[in-house]
């Protein structure tokens, strides 16, 4: 018999289909019968889905401009033309 506690530990593996077939079958059988685990799985899966649907935000314009300026300054302060790869001083 599979216990509810064991199911909780395996939910990530279950939703990512990383379980052995017979183990998956056993768990699915439990889930269908257990009124605790079934809603738990449902909300667990939903939680993961919500995270995956977080859309990236745009970098605010002023942040981007300041950032870009700093990068530009850094790049141009360190001239790196193709012929000057070994620019480290050896005194």
């Amino acid at each position: 018999m599979v216990e509810c506690k064991e199911i909780f530990d395996l939910l990530s593996d279950l939703i990512e289909h990383e379980l052995e077939h017979n183990q998956e079958d056993e768990i699915l059988a439990h889930l269908l019968e257990c009124e605790n685990c079934f809603p738990y799985l449902h909300t667990f899966r939903k939680t993961v889905c919500l995270c995956k649907s977080i859309a990236p935000v745009e970098v605010p314009q002023e942040v981007h401009q300041e950032f870009w300026q700093i990068i530009k300054v850094e790049i141009t302060s360190l001239p790196q033309s193709p012929g000057l790869k070994k620019s480290r001083k050896k005194s």
């Binding site: 909300t43 995270c51 649907s53 990236p56 935000v57 950032f67």
Partner: protein, 229 residues
Amino acid sequence: MTEEIKYHNFGLQLSPSDEELVSDAQNGDNSAFEKLVLRYESRIYNLVLHMTGDQSLTRDILQETFLSSFRNLKKFKGNSKFSTWLYKIAVNYVLIHRRKKKILISLDDYKPGSEDEHPHQIADWADSPAATLDNSELKTKLNNAIETLPEEYKSVLILSDVEGLSNKEIQGVLKLSLPAIKSRLHRARLILREKLSEYFISDVKNKILEQKTPLSLLPPGKPQQENEG
């Protein structure tokens, strides 16, 4: 599924490829480095913002990450993807700043209560109309819930479920074994599910209070006239 298309260029071959740009940049082509910056600016910004929840800190770390990557570009040997290397630098800066601010939350404060969880408290809110990210309240709640995860769980969850990195890639960013990544990711999801449950349960409670019908959602009592044998 939505998770596959979020960062559309993640799995696609970009032209020129990261490898080509890195190689050009390492040979002194600054415009190649600029292309890499533009390619990853938004992704690093979002990663750090999720990890810190602090816009001004995110601005600083964004700068530090790319300055550091530029200064150390020659040290990048291509053993991992460039993006993984960049993530690693950014995550390290987040950790450095966090240590400075001593806002590391103890692991012991958060234990998923799966063992003690009372079966009756497992509310099935997954199909609730409120349970989509079109709901801006939930969006805020979700972001807050992620931010307040213990650091050990948070990085893994953000890299995996928000940023869409594979466990193998996460291994390149964090110095963790694959089993450790899997176990932390799982615990992070359990904690997060619990935090969201609180939201949904309190949401229901608020609605009940608003309607001033606190008893209406309780299971109806047995009718008195029921036969008793």
